[in-house]
């Protein structure tokens, strides 16, 4: 479904050029859920943004469905296949557009018909009743907003969802609801997920495989079973797993 080869992403120009991603390589199979983990600044979100076409300064090869992507442009077909859900549901919805307006606009842009029925269907899909249709973002809780953002991503009927820390701005109880929703949607619609998170337990719950990143490089691609068992090949992976396990006082 998705192949990334030899991906470099940078910001700025020499001598101030920052290489955010260096030689990243991984592939995500159809229907798979793949995680990217690492600390802030490790380049995990940058990879996602480069795939989505939000960063023009990259080189290497990104293939979606076997078709290589151009560096700076994405065509309509791309956005029918790939959609993104952002981290902060408070920032990713227009404060003066109702849920109905957000979804209707997206559906129109995607050239969909029967917009009215589709909006109702989308709201059902993400577990929001019809009563939410004419609400504005400030009338919604964080979890409900993230459901709207997911509905918006689903409007295009994509096959690959890019999830950038979809639950890190939410309380744990709400996080559980959203993670369950994402799992349900994946099995119902046969979606493929590429998910960025700094929370190893969330990735462990959602993903089949994951890549561990440090300083812009992928240090290791591992199976989720190895993550659970703490079997990292690299030192850094083991450190990250140990640090995520929580706090233990120094001896």
């Amino acid at each position: 479904m998705l192949t990334v080869q030899d991906l470099d992403v940078w910001f700025g120009h020499a001598p101030d050029r920052v290489d955010a991603v260096k030689g990243a390589e991984f592939r995500v199979a159809q229907g798979e859920s793949f995680g990217l983990v690492g600390e802030s600044g490790s380049g995990k979100s940058t990879i996602l943004r480069a795939i989505a076409g939000l960063i023009p300064s990259w080189s290497g090869q990104i293939k979606v469905d076997g078709k290589p992507l151009a560096t700076d442009r994405r065509d309509r077909a791309f956005f029918k296949t790939v959609q993104m859900v952002f981290q902060d549901p408070y920032a990713s919805l227009h404060p003066r557009h109702s849920v109905d307006a957000v979804l209707a606009e997206t559906l129109r842009l995607q050239g969909m018909d029967r917009i009215d029925q589709r909006i109702a269907q989308l709201l059902d899909d993400v577990g929001l009743g019809r009563g939410f249709r004419f609400r504005y973002p400030h009338q919604l809780s964080g979890g409900q907003r993230q459901r709207v953002a997911i509905a918006r991503a689903l409007a295009a009927e994509p096959r690959l969802l890019l999830l950038d820390e979809p639950t890190s701005a939410l309380d744990v109880s709400v996080q559980a609801e959203i993670l369950n929703l994402l799992a349900d949607l994946r099995s119902e619609h046969g979606l493929t997920y590429l998910m960025v998170s700094h929370d190893l337990s969330v990735v462990g719950h959602m993903c089949d495989r994951l890549a561990v990143m440090q300083h812009g490089r992928i240090v290791e691609v591992m199976e989720v079973d190895d993550l659970r068992a703490g079997r990292g090949q690299q030192n850094y992976t083991r450190q990250l797993i140990a640090a995520s396990a929580g706090y233990s006082a120094p001896a």
């Binding site: 109880s173 993670l179 719950h205 706090y247």
Partner: protein
Amino acid sequence: MTEPLLSVRDLRVTFPTRQGEFQAVRGISFDLGRERLGVVGESGSGKSMTGRAILGLVRPPGRVEAERLDLGGKSILNLPDRQMRKIRGGRISMVMQDPKFSLNPVMPIGQQIIEAYRLHADVPRNRARQKALEMLEAVQIRDPERVMNAYPHEVSGGMGQRIMIAMMLAPDPQILIADEPTSALDVSVRTEVLNIMDGLVRDRGMGLIFISHDLNLVAQFCDRVLIMYAGRVVETLPARDLHQARHPYTRGLLDSLPRLDAPVDRLPVLQRQDSWREGDVLSPRADTELPGGL
């Protein structure tokens, strides 16, 4: 049992709204000794507001009321601003969530620490500078001379948070209130910052109020935990027993966390009940109301 550092009885914080009065904190009681006290709950449960109320940081039209709010045996409830400023920073300090928003962006870090320290200690500038360097060393900043002259944007998030801790601890406060001090930090940096706070609490015999939404972290780091729901404490228990919590809310929160060691297909979702808003407070033994101490 020694005298508690801080004693709170029936603390209430009220805000008038168009729909009538809204109580963000509804009658909280606890004592703080020389210990690490965790306060956990979801957003909106009133945990941050409790910290702000203790420091007198609730702005009008918000109101703070309490049967008792004593620091070292003396009431600090609704003190005039002048007196409160002496206590705030001097005897009770607070570390906020994000160092980026709590440091002055256009002032070198050293200046900020010196200024904060001299507000509470009557010392000449060069002595204050010495103290600032010592504090930066105490929070394990490797090159304190360089950091003194740096601006906040030139240091990383973890370093910024350590600088905040250094600044807050310079006047030697008795109580430190840390509001989500590690939520904006990476896991590896988190451990470092916690180690520093832990050491300082231990060495100086401070009382620490650690406000967090992260149950596992609190269970591992703190001595005692208050669990808040809708402005009230619903359960109090020793941190090491957190995983044996009995209140359905606490249990629900714990169960909704995905775990690496116990994979599940679906995460249990918290079913909220109205009774939690008013029901009894659970605490395993009567004496956990009193400070446990280190």
